[in-house]
């Protein structure tokens, strides 16, 4: 064998394993942390189906009220499968839950057929009723199975091929996300409150907040625009914060304003944008017909070295 290795491949990274309940794991690894995880025996833990019902479009009508019944988020019934395979210590391992068995790892469970048959018989079936499975905290092995198995979409040990059946309803995680969302709203509201009038008008223009009353076509007062601006911060906080500090919005706003007010025009030559008052050329706009395209071209010009002076002049006009 000409291509045979001259020597056996060396064994890399020999790691120290420790044993927890008969299972070998690397100390401090994810596997280790899941094995030693403790549950509050007085609490109940909730798992919910990963797949929610699609809206079927046509609601069910309650004929007594003549109103649509509320859309049910989850299917009424789905059972929990007690066997799964997981990726454990980089290899595929089988786990199975039986009521009263002291391990979920098949390698650690009884091998005698009679005992297994008995365990199967004594294991109570668990089901997701209306999408929810509630497990008491003292069911440590069941909770460990639910957290490890591949059916759990959040399990770090799931195989790539497994179906995603459920997710743990983590109250802390939900609370953290909720808190983060509230923080974002508060931040957006604060920005909306503190923004200067100029800044507000520029940002409001980007956000599509109307500056005129639709019915009367009167310009809205600054106070009215501010109210709408703050309302938008409440409704769409993420987008509000993300776009708030965007400098290019400001420049685009000024360019559009200059075009609308004819501060910039192409009246001398359709192919050249000029300062209308002085007639000085700004840049070439050959072939561009629409206001949008011209505005975009002017913005691009403002971002390059030759356009620096244009930008300074533009800001000098509007950014007072």
């Amino acid at each position: 064998m000409a291509n045979a290795l001259a020597k056996a491949p060396s064994i890399k990274n020999v790691k120290e394993f420790i044993e927890v309940d008969g299972i070998k794991v690397i100390e401090g690894s994810t596997e280790h942390s899941y094995l030693i995880q403790e549950y509050d025996p007085k609490k109940r833990y909730v798992f919910e189906l990963a797949a929610k019902n699609l809206d079927l479009g046509l609601p069910v009508i309650n004929m007594r009220t003549n109103r649509a019944e509320p859309h049910k988020e989850y299917k009424p019934f789905q059972n929990l499968v007690f066997t799964s395979q997981i990726v454990w210590n980089n290899g595929r391992v089988g786990i199975r839950y039986y009521d009263g068995c002291e391990s979920i790892f098949i390698s650690q469970q009884p091998k005698e057929k009679d005992v297994i048959d008995q365990l199967i018989k004594q294991t109570r079936r668990r089901n997701f009723i209306d999408g929810k499975l509630v497990v008491d905290g003292y069911e440590r092995m069941l909770l460990m199975y639910l957290n490890l198995c591949s059916w759990n979409a959040d399990s770090p040990f799931r195989t790539q091929t497994a179906n995603e059946i459920f997710i743990p309803k983590n109250a802390d995680k939900i609370a953290t996300e909720e808190t983060k969302r509230m923080d974002t709203i508060e931040e957006a509201l604060q920005l909306a409150k503190d923004a200067t009038d100029t800044k507000m008008y520029i940002h409001a223009d980007y956000l599509g907040i109307p500056l005129k009353d639709y019915d009367s076509q009167n310009d809205l007062s600054t106070k009215e625009v501010r109210a709408l601006y703050r309302k938008r911060a409440l409704q769409d906080a993420d987008n509000f914060i993300e776009s708030y500090g965007n400098k290019s919005l400001e420049i685009k706003y000024y360019i559009n304003k200059a075009l609308m007010e004819k501060v910039i025009s192409n009246r001398l030559n359709p192919n050249k944008a000029i300062w209308d008052k002085s007639g000085n050329e700004i840049c070439d706009i050959s072939g561009l017909k629409s206001n949008e395209a011209i505005s975009e071209r002017l913005f691009e010009y403002s971002q390059v070295e030759e356009g620096e002076e244009f930008l300074v002049q533009l800001k000098a006009i509007y950014n007072k």
């Binding site: 019902n53 699609l54 479009g57 007594r64 009220t65 049910k72 059972n79 079936r125 059916w151």
Partner: protein, 468 residues
């Protein structure tokens, strides 16, 4: 599973589409599912089409739709026995003393402005599920968001969950009975009435067309397309009919969403079952008796009828075969739902199995498998692999007008201009057709207005093999 293309004449890509038309004449046989002709149809199209099975078993209907939105409806009654759930823990430490129980919405009452829709009435006797203790409803407070009943024990006991402690726990079940303790010179009680629900669906429009040029219809081929027919239009007739069958079957089973269009589609049987029916999972390739018992338990809990059709993809069918037919012999099985006799059932593609008081008639359903229908093996996921649908058999009376209907029905909408009873309407025009055209070709079209109706969706079940 290795990625592979099924080779040979039956592999991908399947039929060839001719946008400008080639070569067929058409005679739609699908409207002629009459007893004398059934063996011929089965011989011609095989027994894998559930649409044909439904047609043969009379599980389809042609209805006149009275709305302008293609909508057809049916009505179902709700459960006649009322119950509720305890919303929050209540302390009950004095035997015989009344307690106030707040009920959980929406399981116990309709959380509307007044919360008036509830199965709880004054004087009613209510049983606690966890221990069977009974109490009488002595007062009711209906406020928005909080329906409260005053519960007075019938005996010298506390109203708690289980048998020890002093708490009636959130989630305990409260089951209502009538006035079981009316006493002497009793007066009237309140009235109970079942809910009545209306379920709507719409019919989608399925259409197929084909053209046949004069020469294509004249040139004899070397192939006998059946019945001594050597002309290409014969093959096209069969292709078109098979495609129409499959189009209708897929539309009814899987649905045709239309919310992103200006057209009207239909909600399929399986999406309805996924939302309102039950699902029993098992591990692929290791179907066990316990899995089947899970299924029969669910069916039993939902009051399912004795007979079920079980539509399965081949993988699940093999899982079932490996286990059940190796262990159980076919017992006394009623073939009422598949043609009265075992011979007929087998010829329509059903195999029977009876357990836990239920008869299952398995039908290998080609529509679930990409290999069987389209001639290739999926490599990026397959949503209907190891999939089975248990369809209850029997008739259910409509809650509104007592019309008796099968629990899964294929509803064809009646166009008043089309002859009565036609499910698929065919017409033609061309140089040899009654309506002449100048061009030397014939054009054939067929159209169907079809949707599904699912009655008592909770009695259907999905059996799904999941991958580990």
């Amino acid at each position: 599973m290795p990625s592979s293309i099924v080779r040979g004449a039956s592999g991908q890509p399947g039929p060839i589409a001719y946008p400008t038309g080639i070569d067929t004449g058409i005679f739609n046989e699908l409207n002629f599912v009459i007893p004398d002709y059934i063996p011929g149809i089965i011989a011609k199209y095989g027994n894998s089409s559930y649409m044909l099975a439904m047609e043969i078993l009379g599980r389809t209907t042609v209805e006149t739709v009275n709305t302008t939105t293609n909508t057809f409806s049916h009505f179902e009654k709700g459960r006649p026995f009322g119950s509720g759930l305890v919303a929050a823990d209540v302390t009950s430490s004095v035997a015989g003393a009344a307690i106030n129980i707040t009920l959980k919405s929406p399981q116990s009452y309709n959380n509307g402005a007044t919360g008036t829709q509830s199965p709880f009435l004054l004087k009613q006797i209510v049983k606690i599920r966890s221990n069977g203790r009974k109490f009488r409803v002595t007062a009711i407070t209906r406020t928005a968001g909080a329906f409260v009943i005053e519960a007075t024990p019938l005996g010298a006991y506390t109203l708690i969950t289980g048998t020890t402690g002093t708490t009636l726990k959130a989630g305990d079940g409260l089951e209502t009975y009538g006035n079981q303790l009316a006493g002497e010179a009793s007066d009237t009680n309140g009235t109970m009435q079942q809910h009545m629900y209306r379920y709507d669906n719409t019919a989608t429009v399925i259409r197929a067309d084909t053209k046949s040029s004069d020469l294509a219809g004249m040139n004899k081929t070397q192939i006998d397309f059946g019945g001594g027919q050597f002309y290409e239009p014969t093959l096209a007739i069969q292709t078109m009919n098979l495609n129409m069958m499959m189009d209708i079957e897929d539309a009814v089973m899987e649905g045709v969403p239309s919310s992103n269009t200006t057209d009207t589609g239909t909600t399929g049987v399986i999406p309805v079952i996924e939302a309102r029916g039950s699902e029993v999972d098992y591990i692929q390739y290791s179907f066990a008796i316990g899995d089947f018992q899970n299924l029969t338990n669910v069916i039993d809990s939902n009051g399912g009828p004795r007979e079920y059709h079980f539509l399965q993809d081949l993988y699940q069918r093999q899982d079932i075969n490996n286990l059940l037919f190796g262990i159980y012999k076919n017992g006394a099985i009623s073939y009422a739902s598949v043609g009265m006799s075992q011979e007929a059932a087998v010829s329509y593609g059903f195999q029977g199995f009876s357990t836990d008081a239920y008869d299952f008639h398995f039908h290998r359903y080609k529509g679930f498998g990409a290999q069987a229908s389209f001639g290739y093996t999926p490599t990026q996921g397959d949503y209907r692999q190891f999939f089975g649908l248990a369809v209850p058999q029997g008739m259910v009376a409509d809650a509104k007008d007592n019309t008796s209907r099968p629990m899964m029905q294929w509803v064809y909408q009646q166009n008043p201009d089309i002859p009565q009873g036609q499910r698929i309407y065919s017409w033609s025009l061309g140089y040899t057709q009654p309506t002449k055209t100048t061009k030397a070709e014939n054009q054939y079209s067929q159209i169907a207005y079809v949707g599904s109706r699912v009655l008592a969706a909770e009695q259907f079940a999905i059996l799904r093999g999941i991958s580990s």
